[in-house]
């Protein structure tokens, strides 16, 4: 019992910080770049904006290609790239890069589906006012898609917490790393149990906050 407490005291704080660091960076990059790619897919697909089958197909293909790799494999494939970028891939920053590269196409599809749910009649009305495409995206599509968009961010954050455990196992640190090192390799069941409880509570809280936010922007 002493050793369990000791391990938690020594490592849990840093592990949580590392996980938070990786997940936050990957979420921010994923949401920003993913949204831009989603907008590109959306405006090139919709006949009321600037339909462009070539751009749509090429971008769609790249997004699907990255998404078709299971994260475990993508992570391994990316090791040389990460090494090239920052030197040591087995750090939280290295983990954050791999996670970001997975998060961008994931969120791109999530955001694209949120935009596609916007009623085409509403788009016709918006286009009929003579608004520009940016005006329509900002003033009509975005407010209308916001609840789905927020739910998509929550989905992404929760998926990234899961993926962050995987980058942890190959040495990038974080709560997944800790669970494997102590709970699995050193038979510290107590550590494993505590981490499981923390993960459950964390995911519940994120989901709850996300749902509340999504509801508050739905009218």
């Amino acid at each position: 019992m002493d050793s369990t407490l000791q391990i938690l005291q020594d490592n849990l704080g840093k592990a949580l910080l590392d996980t938070a660091y990786m997940v936050v960076i990957a979420t921010v990059i994923g949401v920003v770049l993913g949204t831009l790619i989603a907008l590109l897919l959306y405006v090139t697909e919709n006949r009321l904006f600037t339909p462009n089958a070539t751009v749509n197909t090429v971008v769609g293909f790249i997004v699907n290609a990255i998404r078709s790799l299971p994260f475990l494999i993508l992570m391994v494939v990316l090791i040389p790239l990460v090494q090239l970028l920052i030197g040591d891939p087995y750090t939280p920053t290295g983990g954050a890069i791999s996670l970001s590269i997975a998060a961008v196409p994931f969120f791109a599809r999530v955001a694209e589906s949120a935009f596609s749910e916007v009623d085409p009649g509403l788009l016709e009305a918006a286009v009929s006012t003579g608004a520009t495409i940016p005006q329509i995206i900002v003033g009509a599509v975005f407010p209308q898609a916001l609840p789905s968009f927020i739910r998509g961010v929550v989905l992404t954050v929760i998926s990234l917490i899961g993926y962050s455990a995987m980058v942890g196992t190959i040495g990038a640190g974080g709560i997944g790393d800790m669970a494997i090192q102590y709970g699995y390799n050193r038979y510290e069941t107590g550590v494993l149990v505590i981490i499981v409880v923390i993960l459950i509570v964390l995911v519940q809280v994120i989901q709850w906050v996300g749902d509340w936010l999504a509801r508050s922007v739905t009218h």
């Binding site: 016709e124 006012t129 608004a131 520009t132 005006q135 407010p143 916001l146």
Partner: protein, 379 residues
């Protein structure tokens, strides 16, 4: 109907839209010149609009009626180029806009308001923001937007709903907001796509009154498409009847509906004006011939009926009567039972036929079976 082809000479631009020469006069707000729209869907060509030509005068309310699927929605969308014609030209104020793109297209759309059956408001923002969206599109400076929003809401009678969300409004109120949005940039033209079809009877009348007022006071030309003849007769100056992508008949509203020449128009009018008698009543009627007479409101039919009855020694019983007003003019429909000696009845019918413009013998068997005389009349 006495004849299949009544040549009334009443239709403006002649009998049909197709083939009409287009000469853009100064008073023509909208001219569609041989417009066709073809969609390609799953390897098939669907001709939604076929060679339609029509002219809408400045300041009038021009209606397009037809059953659903006739191509009305597609046609009205060619006016602000939400649908670009596959062939043909769209002229606004005499200028060919068919190939407008980019900022020229956006400038054109600012001059043409559009309201929809489903309102199409941005539901996650307030009434104020919905209208402000259009004002931003129109390039209104921030300092003037709030005054303009209040002015527009005053016009549609919704001043108190400035900061409400659309979900808290009734259907009629939502349509008022969408009218305010459509008028935000002071358009010269307002397009209405089944704008009252989602509303109840009373609300429909309120919205029509509002649109009429906008038409009259602001001088905005309105193009209104609907399948509801109530709407058509209440507000349209001119009407075009559409079927399978074509305009089959057009002219002044009263003329088109009083003397429909095309089967589709007749079917629409029948559905609306047709009188129905309960099938069980038909079987209990004395023997005789049931005739539907149609007359214009200025003809007095009562004296005619009693005179014919007296002259030919037959009895004429009125089974059902109905009068509908198109603007200031009325169309009456009368269902009568003519009975008497075998020799006298045909003569009496001939006399009646010569005195009314609509005459149709009805089949008793069909009536008793519940069909026949346009019994689908709307409630």
């Amino acid at each position: 109907m006495s004849d299949v082809n009544v040549i009334a000479g009443a239709g403006r631009d002649g009998a049909s839209g197709t083939g009409t020469a287009v000469a853009g006069g100064a008073d023509d707000a909208i001219i569609l010149d041989h417009v066709s729209v073809t969609f390609h869907e799953r390897g098939k060509d669907i001709e939604a609009v076929r060679d339609v030509s029509l002219t809408v005068a400045r300041g009038e309310v021009y209606g397009i009626v037809g059953f659903s699927g006739a191509g009305k929605s597609t046609l009205v969308r060619t006016i602000n180029l939400l649908e670009r014609p596959t062939s043909g030209r769209v002229l606004i104020d005499g200028r060919d806009v068919t190939q407008s793109r980019g900022s020229r297209l956006r400038d054109l759309r600012k001059r043409i308001g559009f309201i929809f059956q489903g309102f199409n408001l941005i539901t996650n923002v307030t009434v104020r923001e919905n209208i402000e969206f259009a004002l931003k599109a129109g390039g209104w400076p921030k300092s003037e937007r709030q005054d303009r929003i209040k002015e527009l809401l005053h016009l549609v009678g919704l001043e108190t709903k400035l900061d409400s969300y659309p979900s808290s409004l009734s259907g009629g109120q939502k349509q008022r907001v969408s009218i305010a949005r459509a008028l935000a940039n002071k358009p010269e033209i307002l397009l209405c796509d089944e704008a009252t079809s989602a509303l109840d009877l009373e609300t429909t009348e309120e919205i029509l009154a509002l649109l009429k007022r906008i038409n009259r006071e602001l001088g905005i030309t309105i193009v209104f498409i609907t399948h509801q003849l109530d709407v058509a007769k209440a507000v349209f100056d001119h009407v075009a009847v559409m079927e399978e992508g074509r305009i089959v008949e057009q002219g002044a509203t009263f003329d088109v509906f009083a003397e429909p020449r095309h089967d589709t128009t007749r079917a629409l009018v029948e559905r609306y004006l047709g009188v129905a008698i309960p099938p069980q009543l038909v079987t209990s009627l004395p023997s005789g011939i049931i005739v539907e007479l149609r007359y214009k409101g200025d003809d007095a039919l009562e004296p005619l009926i009693s005179r014919v009855a007296r002259e030919h020694d037959v009895s004429i019983d009125v089974l059902h009567a109905n009068v509908e007003y198109f603007g200031a003019q009325a169309i009456g429909t009368l269902l009568v039972l003519v009975s008497g000696p075998d020799s006298a009845v045909p003569e009496a019918l001939d006399t009646l036929r010569s005195r009314v413009f609509g005459f149709r013998k009805l089949d008793r068997k069909a009536l008793a079976a519940g069909g026949g005389s346009g019994s689908e009349r709307k409630a």
